[in-house]
């Protein structure tokens, strides 16, 4: 977690780090594709093959696809859909009327069978879009060449899937970023109580906790087990912050801010955290949160 105490550009653009995570994973798959491409010459445009096999990786890194099983199934289903779509579009691209029937007919079938809600309709649209992009590439001129191209898409898809499975679990970083967002929110609550409405604070706090719930299935079993303790400590700490922001005087708030800033630094080096006992409710809440976080980081 960054120890920067002010909101950075990236905190606004990618608060939980999902986009950075997706970027890293797709770059890693791209490097593997480039290496493979150096040895296996694609029978069609290499970039199209990479696009067909790699688009699924971008898709499965969306926050809503939040279990390892969902990620695997989504990748396989989406890539199969894309390969079939590209193959159909390419196969019929030499026939004037049949091309129209095949493209519109296949799009209708896909939407009717898969698009039961708008979210799934978006996935169908991406597969169809890749099918349209494939029309820009030179196509196969006989049946076996077409089979060869399709087999090559499958080959690249298998490589991408293996790469996805070998990619290390980095979802603890998402939890780190969520913790940072909560920390920044609490700091804002203490420093700008007049500028920020309590409703906005409350809903933002719930939004961050909801993100924590969303990423939970992707964490390791041990980490998942100890997440409730962290959430409990977060609520307890939020209660003290809320009470201080509402009732405490300027001097008391300054004191809490010092503890709050120290908490960020201690969370950065969680293993060094100590567990002093203190009668002060604010310090107790901060210590409980620090301990819960340290424990979670040690398990990760």
């Amino acid at each position: 977690m960054s120890t920067c105490t002010t909101e950075r550009w990236i905190d606004r653009v990618d608060p939980y780090g999902y986009a950075r995570q997706a970027g890293l994973k797709v770059s890693y798959v791209a490097i593997i594709f480039f290496l493979v491409n150096a040895f296996w010459k694609a029978p069609t445009l290499a970039v199209l093959t990479m696009c067909v096999a790699g688009a699924g990786i971008v898709l499965i890194e969306m926050p809503s696809i939040n279990t390892p099983k969902k990620k695997d199934v989504s990748y396989i289903v989406f890539t199969l859909l894309t390969i079939i779509t590209v193959s159909i579009f390419r196969f019929f691209s030499y026939f004037t009327v049949l091309e129209l029937v095949a493209i519109v007919g296949w799009s209708y079938v896909l939407y009717r069978l898969i698009a039961k809600d708008t979210e799934k309709a978006q996935v169908v649209a991406i597969a169809i879009l890749i099918g349209f992009v494939s029309l820009e590439a030179p196509g196969a001129t006989d049946f076996w060449q077409w089979v060869n191209q399709t087999a090559f898409y499958v080959q690249f898809a298998v490589i991408a899937f293996v790469a996805h499975k070998l990619f290390p679990n980095r979802y603890m970083r998402i939890v780190n970023n969520i913790m940072r967002q909560i920390w920044l929110l609490q700091q804002r609550q203490l420093t700008e109580p007049d500028k920020t409405s309590s409703t906005a604070m409350g809903t933002d706090f719930l939004k961050h906790l909801s993100a924590l719930e969303q990423v939970k299935p992707l964490l390791t079993a041990q980490t998942r087990e100890h997440l409730p303790a962290l959430i409990q400590a977060l609520w307890q700490y939020q209660h003290t912050i809320e009470a201080a922001a509402r009732h405490a005087d300027r001097e008391a708030i300054e004191q809490i801010l010092i503890t709050h800033k120290a908490l960020l630094k201690q969370m950065q080096a969680p293993t060094k955290a100590t567990s002093p006992t203190d009668d002060d409710q604010k310090l107790v809440a901060a210590n409980t949160l620090r301990q819960a976080w340290s424990h979670l980081c040690q398990l990760a």
């Binding site: 990618d14 986009a19 950075r20 997706a22 970027g23 994973k25 797709v26 770059s27 798959v29 791209a30 490097i31 480039f34 445009l45 970039v47 790699g54 990786i57 971008v58 890194e61 969306m62 926050p63 091309e99 129209l100 493209i103 519109v104 799009s107 209708y108 939407y111 698009a115 039961k116 809600d117 708008t118 309709a121 978006q122 649209a125 169809i128 879009l129 349209f132 992009v133 820009e136 309590s198 409703t199 409350g202 809903t203 719930l206 939004k207 906790l209 909801s210 719930e213 969303q214 939970k216 997440l227 409730p228 303790a229 959430i231 409990q232 609520w235 939020q238 209660h239 009470a243 509402r246």
Partner: protein
Amino acid sequence: MPACLMHRRTLQVCLLLTIALLFSRVPQWEHGSWILISVGAIIGPFSPLLTFRKSMLRALGTTAGLLLSAMLIATLSHLPWSIPILGVILAYGIAFTAQQDYRYFIMVITVTIALNFADMYVPFTPFEPWSFFSSRAMGVFIGIAVYVTLEWFVFGKREFIRWAKASNNDFEAKLATLIKQIDHLDASNPSLNQPLLAAVSQAQAAHAESVSNMTSGLDQAVFDRAKRLQRIAQRLQMSVYRVLCGSTRSGLNITIRARRIQALLNQQCT
């Protein structure tokens, strides 16, 4: 979303694709597929409330992307070793912007497609790159024009209103279910309520996104209802927050709060 609305939209999308395909194939234009690609990208979110704004963002993103790719080609076309590095950077860019504003995503996609389909090897004569880019830009803008014409003049304003109404109904039903669950909120162990909190937060975010492009000019009643539902959801969240945070100033318990919100929602229905 109701099945009939989804089916109607599927038929509209198919009609849109047919027209775009005719526009791209009948003139036997070399880069005609770009009309199809444009329409395919715009119809992505499916709901007309989102796709209309997307068409405008696509125009912006494509223009920026084409300018950027022209600069990149001018700079890097004689440095073949830079292509793999650029490839990795663009792959990162696509995945990163896929979760950001659509115009940035389209900008990176345009650069990627323009650079990858052999454009880096276009002989750098004074006219060739320009004719190449202008034909791409033409394809994109024809695609946007086809979409806007059909969406606005053929499918019409009523379709937008139907989707906005369905989105409101959907959100109202979700809120009613969530309010019932709030009675079982366990304030002594906040971590147990995490799934409920996530459901409320996600339902509100999804509804806010689906009606974000709706203006009061479309239908005042539907617009007001969407705003009222958002306020109810916010109130629901605040009630949960206050109970779990232990900061109930008025001393009301969660059952009374839930009943009040339910009454507000019922008032909304009538």
